[in-house]
Symmetry: D3
Subunit: 329 residues, 6 copies
C-alpha cells in the first residue's frame, strides 16, 4: 500500500559546473530530474511511501534512473521497461545576475512519450494508494501520453484516490491553446490543483487582481477541493523569496515569506508539492500542509540537484524557527 | 582552397571517468566524436587545410561542436545550421580485461540525419578541394542522408576530386543487407577505400584467406585505386597492436606492427585515415602514406578523446624510431 | 519473500584518487563497502531479491548507507537504527607494482558492533528467505555481534534456510586463536562454505597438498554441503588471475582461469559469492553456479567500488566467451 | 576582409578553484586571458570577423593559445611563431568581501614582448580590416613592443582604419611617467578611446569634477572622435554595478546602470569594448553602441573565464529587458 | 624558544563540495581542523614561532596531520605518537539561507583523548615559550584530557607563561554542568579569556545587559588580565558581520564592524585569537591586538579550510583600509 | 645539526590529468619538483634531518614552495628570499606506449638562477651538516649559480662534509661542452657521484663496455670515494625495470632488479639518491646503501608527484620481500 503514486517522465540531468555556460563545458554533473518524481522524493523523505510509474529503456541510462529513484526509497516495481527508445535528457546551466539560469531540453521520443494507456495496470496500482500525482508536463509529451494520463486520472478519480495535479505549463512542449484543450477535460478528476498565477493565465486564461481571486476563479471553474498558488520573487539570481497560499472550502490560508540564497532552484516547486501532500495526507490540516510545503520549498533551494535532500526534522525546525543560521554541530 | 572536405555527423561525446560504468556516473567528460571529423582533425594537425560539412542545431550544443571543430583549425564556414532537431550524443565507458569498452549511441533524429541533398552547395564546395572524405556511417543515418551522400560522392567524382571512403559498418544503424544495398552503388565514386576484414565481410560478403586476397577482391569488384586494410590485435583491453597494409596498382605495401598501451582507442582508425591522406596528398607515395597512417593510429591510442592530439614531428619521430620511451624534456 | 538475507557491517569507503597515498590526499571518493552487502548487491543485480540486516546510526552517514544500499535494489526495511554510535569507515589506497593496495580500517565502536541478538526479529525475517549469508567478519566485530551471528545462524539452520558463510579472516579484528574458537561452533549451521586456502589455514589450521585436499578436509571436519575455494594469482598489482573450484557430494568442479586488468579488486571475492549463490539458487547446478561465480568475480575487477556494476547478460556473455574485447557498440 | 584586427599579448590563465588562495592550490584551471583578444572574442561572438596578431612560441602552450583563440572563431592566420621564448602566464585567485580577487603576473620575456615592428606585415594586414584595436598594455611589454605598437597604430591611422585604444594602465609593467611618455605620442592615431577615470588620471593626469569633464578634457587634449568612460562600483566582491558613458561630437550618451552577481569580473571591460565596437561598426550609432557595450560588460560577469560566453540574442534581450531572471527553458 | 605553544586535538576535516549535503557526497575534500591549531597557524603566518602539542596515531592519517601542521610552519617536534587509537574526524557541509552549515563529529576515542598528563614533558616545553594556548574543547575530550589540561595550565601559570584560553563550549562533548564543574577550577591559571556571550552564559551562567557587563563580570569572577568577546551577526548564511571587543584593566576597547561574504566561516574565531595573540605578544598594546584579531577573523571567512591563508601585509592592509575591492594586480 | 643540506632549484610542477596532452589541458595538478629537494624528501622521510637551500620569490608561489617543502619535514630556515624574479615552472604530461612522457620547462630567470655566492652563509650552514648534496642542474642555471655551486662545494669539501653529486645532465640548459667545462673542475670536491651511463658519456665522454668499466674510469679520472650508476629499462611506458650498482674502494656491489608499474617515474632517480644517502649515513655500509636506494627508487614509481610518499618500514619490507602484492589491511 502506497501513500502516493506518481506518474511522469524523469530525465537524465546534465548540469554545468562553476557557472559555466553549456557551450564551455568540459564535464557535466549527472543526476535525475522530473517534476513528478521530485514530488515523490520529498514526500518519501518526509515519511510517506511512494511509487513511481514511468517508462524506461533497458540500457545503462534507464538503469541509472531506476537506481537513483530507489536510492530515495521510492518504489520502482511498477516501472515499465522498453527495449527501444531513449531516455530524455535535460541540460542545465546556472546563472548569475543579470543572466538567468537556463535549461535545454532534449526529451523528444523518450520511452515514456511512447507509453500507451494499457501498458500500466492502472486498476491494480491505483487500488494500492491514497493519492495520485501528476503534472501538466506528462500529457504534453505525446498523444499517447495524454491518453495514458487521462486513463490514469479518470481511474484514480473513480476509485476515490486523492488526485493532485501541478499545472506546470511547458512552452517548449505545446502551445497555450493545445495545453488548454488537452488539460481542461482532465480537471474534472483533480482534487488538489498546484499552480502559479502565470501558468493559470497561460493555460486557462484565468487572471485576477490578486492570487486570491485567481484561486477563487479556478475553484469556481473546475470545482477543485484545494487550490495552492505559489509565488517566487527574484530580486537576483542568487537571492529569491518564496510564498505559497492555499484555498479550501472558501477559506484562504497564508504563511510567512521565506528568503533564500539559491544553490539550485530547480525542483523547489516540486518540493512544495511534496511537503504539502505529506502534511495533507498525514495531518489532514490545510494550514499545516501549507507550512510544510513552503518550508520544504525554501529548503530545497539550498541543495544541488532536483531532489530535496533534507529530513523531516529539518523542515519542522525551519517552520518553527529553530536553530537559526549558526553552524549546526 | 582546401585539401580535404569531409562530410558526416559529429556527436557530443560523454565519457565516464576512472573506468566507471555509465550506470555509476556522477559526472561525464564532454568532447566531440565523429569518424569523418576525426579524420580531418588528424590531417589538419599534420598540415593540411580541411573543411567539415555537417548540419548543426543553433543551440549551445551545436555551438560547442562548432567551437571544438574550429579549435582544431578545421574550417566550419560550410556548416548548415538548423533551428530544429537535436545533436546526436554518444556515451562511452572505458573497459578493462575482461570487460571491453562500450559505447551507447543516442543519435536518432539528429540535425544531420535530416539533411537534404540540396542544403549544401556541393558544386561550389567540391570545386575548392583536392579530396573528399566520408564514411559508411553517414548514409546509414537516414534516407535523406543517403541521398545527400550519393550526391556528394557523385559530384566529387565528376569533378575529379580524390574520393576517400571508410567503410565503417555500424550494426546499430542498419542491417548488413541494407548496408550492402545502399553502399554498393556508391563504390563507383570511390578512389581510396579504407576498411577492415570484418567490415568487408559484413557489408560486401567479401572474404579471403588473408587480407591481401580481400584487398584484391575489393579492387577487382569495385575498381578502387587504393585499398587499405587495418588490423587491431587485442591481447587485452589496455594493450593493443596495430597493423595496416595498402594495395595500389596490384602492389602490396606493408609496415611494422605497433604495440600500444591504450588510453583511448576511439578514433584511432580515423587517425590512420587522416595520416594516410595527409601523406598521400602531400607526398604522393603510397608506401609513405601507409607509414604515416600507421604511426598516427598508434599514437592516437595514447591520448584521451576522439581527436589525435599530436604534431607532425611526433608522428615522424615515431615512424623513424627516434626518441624512445625516455621522458622527453 | 526474499532469496537471500544478509547480515553484517557496511562501512563508508573513502578511497584516494590517481594512485595517491592516503597521506597525500586532498580529496577522497565516497562509496560503501562491506563483504556481506557486496554479495547481496551482486545477487540482486543478477536477478534475486535480497534484504540486508545491519545496524545504522540515524545521521547523514547512516542515511547515505541506506540510500546506496537501496540504490542497488537491496531491501533495507529490516535495518536497525541507532541514535548513538558511529559508522565504520575504511580508507583505501590503490597500489602499483611493487606497492600493494592498502586499506586502513577505522571501524571500532560502530553501530553494528553494538548490536544485540534480540534487536532483530530473526524468527520473522528468516521465515521470509531461501538463503542466509554472512561472513567471518561479522562475529569478529564484538562479543555481542558474535552472539547475534550465532543466533542468526542457528535460527536459519533450524528453519531450513540455506546458510552460506564466507570465512573471511581479518587479522586486524582478532587473532587466529580467537577466530577458531568463535567460528568453529558456528560451522554446524553452515551449508555452503566460501573460502580460500590461506583463510582455512589461518582459522582452522586445515591445510593440504592442494586445494582439493583442503576442501575434502573441510567437508570431513564440518559436514558442509558445498565448499568453494578461490585463488587469486598476483603477477602484478594491475594484472591478476582468478580461479575458483567447488566440492559437493564428493565431486569436484573446476572452471577456466580468468585474467584481469585490475581497476579495483576490492569486493571481487564477494562478487564470486554473489554470482555463485545466484546460480545455485536459481539453477540448482553446482557446476553452473561455479561458472557464474568466477565470471562475476573476474568482471568485478574492472569497475571501481566494492559493488559489482554489471548485468546478468554481461556475466553470461563472459562465461560463453561472447563479445571479445572490441568496443561494444 | 576583417572587421577588427587586434594586437597584443594573450597569456595562459591559471586560476584557483573554490576561492582557494594560490598558496593553497592543488589544481589550477587553465584558460586564456588577454585584454585585446578578449575584445575580439566578444565582437566575433556578436557577429564580426576578427583576426588576432600576437607572437607565440611553437610549443604546447603556444598551440593551446592558438587553439583556444580559433575556438572562438577569431582568425589566427597572422600569428607570428617563435622557436624561442615563452608564453606569459597569469595566476588568478577569486576573492570574497573583505578580500579582493588577485592576479599574479608571470609575463616577462614572453614571445610577444620580443616582437619587432617588421615581424608583421602591417601594410598588408591593415589593408584588410575596418578597425584596429589595441591597449595600453601592449606598448608596456618592452621597447620593441612599443615600437611595434607605434608602427601598427600609425599604419592603421594612415590607411583610414578606425583605431580603437583601451588605455588600460598596468602599474606592474611601468610607472605612470613611463606610460605617459610612451602613450601620449600614440594618441594622435586613436579614434576611439576606451578608459576609466582612474586610468586617465594615472596616465595623463587628466581629472575632472565628473566623468563628463574628464571625457571633454580628453577630447580637447587628444582630439579623439569618441571617448567612452566606464565605472565599476564595488559594494562587495560578489556584487558589482556597471555604468558606461560615451562622448562624441560634443554630445554625451548615458545608459542604465547594471547590477551584477560576480562569477568572474576579469575581462568585463574588454567585453564592453567588444560590444561597443560591434555595434559601432554595424549600427554606426553611438547611443546604440554604448548600450551593447554595457550589456555585454554586465553579462560577462556571470561566466567564468576572460571570454564572454554569450550570444547576440542574449545581449539584446538584456538590453531590452526581456526574459527576466526566471529559468530560461 | 617559541612564542606560543598550543595544546589540543586536530581532526581530519572532510567537507562536501558545491553545497552538497553529506548524504549526497560522492567525494569529500580533505584538510585539518582543530581550534587550538587554527590559532597557532594564524599566529605563525603573521610572524610568531609556534609549537603544537597533541597525540597522533602512527598511521597515514596521523602523518597527514603532522605534514599539514608543519606545512604551516608550526613545530611538531613535541607531538606524542601512539601505535593505537584513531584520529578524530569531522564532516562539514556548507549551507545557504535558510539552511545553516552543519558539522558532524566522529571524534570519540581519538589518540589525544587517551592522553595522560605525564606523556608530555610540560616542565620542559613550557620553559621554552612566552605563551600557552588551549580551549574548553580539550578538557572535554576525556577525563585524562582534563587532567592533562589541568597540569599544562597550572605548570604554565607557575612558570609565568602567558595563558590564553578560548572558552569554546561544545554541547556534543559535555553538558553545561559538566563544563562548569571542569572549567571553573582552571580559570585561575588563565590570563587571557577569549569567549562569546553565548558560551559565557552556557558555561558560567554569566550574563549581562550588554557584552561590557559580561566582560566585567567575568573579570570580577575569575580575575582575568584580559577578556575578549566576539560577536557574529548572521543576516544570511553567505553574509556575516564580525565584531570583537576587549576589556583590560577596567578599560574597554572597541573596533569597527567587518562585513564578510562567507566562503568558510569555520576557524574564524580561532583566527581572531591568533591575530590577537600575535599583536598582543609583539606590540603589547591591547587596542592594536584587538584590531589585528578582528581583521584576521574577517579575512578568514574568505578562504576555504580551517586555516587562515593570508599574510601579515594583507591583515594590515585591511586594518588600514588600503586596497579596497578592486582586483589586486 | 643536519644530516644533509641540499642546494638547488625547486619548480612549481603543473601536470596534466588522465594522460591529456598539455595542449588539451583544462586543469593542471600543482605540486613541486626539483632534483635536489626530491633527494632530501626521501632522506627525511626515512629518518634523516635535512635542510634545503634555494632562493624563492616572496609571492604566493614562493610561499607555496616553502609550505610544501616543510610539509615534508625539510628545514627551510636557510632559504633566501627575493622581492624580484619568478619561480621556475615545469609542465608534465604522462605518456603511454608508444608516446613517452614529456616535460616542458619554463625556468629561465628564476629567483635561484640569480643567486650570488655570498647570499648564503656557506661557512655557517656547512658547519651544521654531515653531508651536502647538489646536482649538475644547479650550476647549469646561470653563471652566478655556477659560482655559487663552486663555492658551496669547495667549502663543504674543505670542512670535511661528505659531498654527494648527481650528474644529471640537462640538454635544455647547456651543451655537452659547456657542461664538461663547468663540471669537471667541480669533481675534485665530490665524494659520492651518482650518475647513469648516458650522462657520463654526454658530460665526460667516459664510456665503457659495461657499467663497471664506466664506474672504474670515473673513479680513476676524478678520484670519487663512491660511484653509483643506475639503469632504467623501458619495455613500455607503463612498465619499467630498475637496477643500480655501486663501486667503492675497487669493489662492486650489485642488487636485484626491480619491476615496476609506472604511476609517475619523475623523481625516482632522486629517490635512489635519497635512499642511498640515508643508509650510507646511518648504516655506513655501501651494500646496504645500494639496497635502500634501489628499493626507494622502485617504490617511487608507484606514487604521483616528484616526492617519494613512503615510510622506512615500506622500503625495508620491499627490500626483504615481505608482504607481496595482496591488499595490505
Amino acid at each position: 500500500m502506497f501513500d502516493i503514486v506518481g506518474f511522469g517522465e524523469v530525465m537524465i540531468r546534465l548540469s554545468t559546473v562553476n557557472f559555466q555556460r553549456l557551450e564551455q563545458a568540459t564535464s557535466l554533473d549527472v543526476s535525475l530530474g522530473g517534476a513528478e518524481l521530485n514530488v515523490l522524493v520529498t514526500a518519501q523523505r518526509l515519511g510517506l511511501k511512494t511509487s513511481y510509474i514511468t517508462r524506461l529503456t533497458r540500457n545503462p541510462l534507464g538503469r541509472l534512473i531506476e537506481d537513483k529513484t530507489r536510492e530515495q526509497g521510492v518504489d520502482t516495481s511498477h516501472v515499465i521497461w522498453s527495449d527501444e527508445d531513449r531516455q530524455g535528457i535535460y541540460f542545465l546551466e546556472f546563472g548569475a545576475l543579470p543572466r538567468p539560469s537556463a535549461i535545454l531540453y532534449d526529451r523528444k521520443n523518450s520511452a515514456v512519450s511512447k507509453i500507451q494507456p494499457d501498458m500500466v495496470d492502472w486498476d491494480s496500482i491505483l487500488s494500492q494508494t491514497k493519492a495520485f500525482h501528476t503534472t501538466g508536463i506528462t500529457p504534453a509529451l505525446s498523444k499517447s501520453a495524454l491518453e495514458t494520463t487521462t486513463k490514469a486520472l479518470s481511474t484514480a478519480h473513480q476509485k476515490g484516490v486523492q488526485v493532485s495535479f501541478d499545472l506546470n505549463y511547458r512552452a517548449r512542449l505545446w502551445s497555450q491553446e493545445e495545453a488548454k484543450a488537452a488539460l481542461s477535460p482532465l480537471m474534472q478528476y483533480v482534487d488538489i490543483l498546484i499552480t502559479t498565477e502565470e501558468d493559470t493565465a497561460r493555460v486557462f486564461q484565468i487572471e485576477g487582481k490578486d492570487w486570491k481571486e485567481v484561486a477563487h476563479k479556478l475553484t469556481d471553474t473546475f470545482g477543485f477541493k484545494v487550490v495552492t498558488i505559489t509565488i517566487r520573487e527574484t530580486p537576483t539570481v542568487w537571492r529569491n523569496n518564496w510564498l505559497g497560499i492555499a484555498l479550501k472550502d472558501g477559506q484562504f490560508y497564508e504563511d510567512r515569506k521565506y528568503e533564500m540564497e539559491v544553490v539550485d532552484r530547480v525542483g523547489s516547486g516540486d518540493a512544495f508539492a511534496g511537503g504539502f501532500l505529506y502534511a495533507y495526507l498525514t495531518k489532514g490540516d490545510i494550514e499545516t500542509a501549507l507550512k510544510y510545503g513552503n518550508a520544504a520549498a525554501a529548503l530545497k533551494h539550498s541543495t544541488p540537484g532536483d531532489f530535496a535532500y533534507f529530513t523531516l526534522e529539518e523542515v519542522e525546525n525551519l517552520m518553527l524557527g529553530k536553530g537559526g543560521l549558526r553552524i549546526s554541530r
